[in-house]
């Protein structure tokens, strides 16, 4: 019978021995060395029976098919656009995936997306060299207009979105800001200036406390306190907003974290 050296929700570091015994199963973030299961990154231990895995606390974004990401156009090519994606790899948006229009050869592509534009896109393919194929076709995918973009730790995105989108919905409703969260850690916000400040502070609070319990209550209290006396614009139920809510639900299928 083996030994467990860690418990659920412990912070563990690379090289830390989590358990000893052949009956334990090394999940993501861990590896087996003989009898030992060892952590291979800094993370939160997740113990499910005999399966040991880690929830990463840090690390640059690793692109996955079907992820919704925010990218910035850096090049306009003959047949599409190249985007920077806040990770080591660039994304290619082909004409076909960028627009439903019939685009003539030699047409000026900047009328669709120009250098510096931020786009909400979906990853449809990741090549062996990690070049990303992305698409603008789908609910909620669009060019972002106005607002500002902040960068957050992409590993904390699931906590910012929350179970079934509950956390991000709470922030949106409390501040009245429109918010779109990319899986790659880029977040777009737009709302009255003081409300944006509160929304950003709430997101930073979640980032720094994601591994601690009682986070939802803490954020709720923070929002109530900071939004006192600030006007909250009515949450516009435009068609676009509905698509964005769908977007959040779509993102939520990828979240494994349970709310504490």
């Amino acid at each position: 019978m083996g030994n467990m050296h860690t418990k659920d929700r412990d912070i563990v570091v690379p090289g830390e021995i989590l358990a000893e015994g052949m009956e334990f199963i090394p999940g993501t973030g861990t590896y087996r060395d003989g009898e030992k299961i060892i952590a291979q990154m800094i993370g939160l231990a997740s113990v499910n029976g005999k399966v040991l895995k880690l929830i990463p606390l840090a690390g640059r974004y690793v692109p996955k098919v079907d992820d919704i990401i925010i990218g910035r156009v850096t090049e306009i090519l003959f047949s599409g656009w190249m985007l920077e994606t806040n990770c080591a790899y660039r994304a290619m948006l082909s004409l076909k995936e960028g627009t439903t229009d019939f685009v003539e050869r030699g047409a000026n592509l900047t009328q669709y997306f120009n250098l510096g534009d931020y786009l909400v896109t979906r990853i449809v393919n990741v090549t062996s060299q990690k070049l990303l194929d992305i698409s603008m076709k789908g609910p909620g995918l669009r060019k972002l207009r106005g607002g500002q973009i902040i960068s957050m730790n992409n590993n904390k995105v699931p906590r910012v979105i929350g179970k079934k989108g509950s956390m991000i919905a709470m922030i949106k409703q409390a501040t009245g800001c429109q918010i779109t969260v990319g899986q790659n850690g880029l977040v777009w916000l737009q709302g009255p200036p003081k409300n944006e400040v509160v929304a950003i502070q709430a997101i930073r609070m979640i980032e720094e406390n994601s591994h601690l319990s009682g986070l939802t209550e803490k954020v709720k209290g923070f929002l109530e306190e900071k939004m006192k006396g600030l006007p909250v614009p009515e949450f516009r139920q435009e068609r676009q907003d509905t698509r964005k809510d769908q977007l959040v639900e779509f993102q939520m299928e990828r979240v494994n974290n349970d709310d504490i």
Partner: protein, 236 residues
């Protein structure tokens, strides 16, 4: 000639100078670490995996690690140090890479680079080891996949004694033979990933020195682990 009392008053020959370790001290970086041993201070920052420039350096089969060792102009105990690298810093950068690579697996990041920058506000011997120790904290802090943490310490010999963590005065000892042996060590697999020797030593003393180094690295690893975990300690 015997070396009886250590110049800085340390009681035993395997005693390390007072140490301090921190993680996450540079907000712009993907990961960062700080390690101080005696008067030697190293600050390490990790950026990456990120796109590698120039493109001809890209490796389509794996990401690469690049270390950059640099001393701040006011860090030395003598004259001002002219900024810009020199041959020594190039060599140290390279051995630091070789010390850290064995725990990394960058195959998931073709064409990308993990850059590690190590800077020294002040030095008093053992700088490359302090740098590797800080770099290891920084790599872990950056969420890089690592089999183990890497610890490093300079062991060596002064006259008739084998000792750990030589300070500047011990390295400069003139009344007998001296050997300066920086090592880097992986505690789990018990492997040595950096080994250099400067000076004169017999093989038996060398082996004793290495064994001493491997033992004291446990204390260094404890500090690295604590630094990383302390970052997540309290609610913000």
């Amino acid at each position: 000639m015997t070396y009886d009392k250590r110049f800085d008053g340390r009681k035993s020959f395997d005693e390390l100078r007072p140490m301090e370790a921190k993680a996450g001290i540079i907000k712009s970086a993907d990961g960062s670490g700080y390690f101080k041993i005696g008067k030697t201070e190293a600050i390490a920052a990790v950026y990456g995996p990120r796109e590698l420039h120039p493109r001809f350096m890209q490796d389509p089969s794996t990401g690469i690690l690049r270390c950059h060792y640099n001393m701040m102009p006011f860090s030395g105990s003598g004259d001002r140090i002219r900024p810009g690298g020199n041959r020594r810093s190039k060599e140290i950068s390279m051995v630091m890479e070789k010390a850290l690579i064995p725990v990394l697996d960058l195959k998931e990041f073709p064409n990308a680079v993990v850059d590690v920058f190590v800077e020294y506000p002040q030095t008093d011997a053992g700088s490359r080891c302090a740098g590797i120790t800080a770099a290891s904290i920084a790599l872990a802090d950056a969420g890089i996949v690592m089999k183990d943490l890497v610890c490093a310490v300079a062991v060596g010999r002064v006259a008739d004694k084998v000792l750990a963590d030589l300070n500047y005065d011990e390295e400069a000892y003139e009344d007998g033979p001296v050997a300066d042996i920086p090592i880097a060590y992986l505690p789990n697999s018990k492997q040595i990933t950096l080994l250099q020797m400067d000076g004169q030593i017999t093989k038996p003393m060398l082996i004793d020195a290495l064994k001493m180094g491997m033992k004291v690295c446990d204390k260094i690893k404890e500090l690295q682990v604590k630094a990383l975990k302390d970052k997540y300690g309290e609610a913000q």
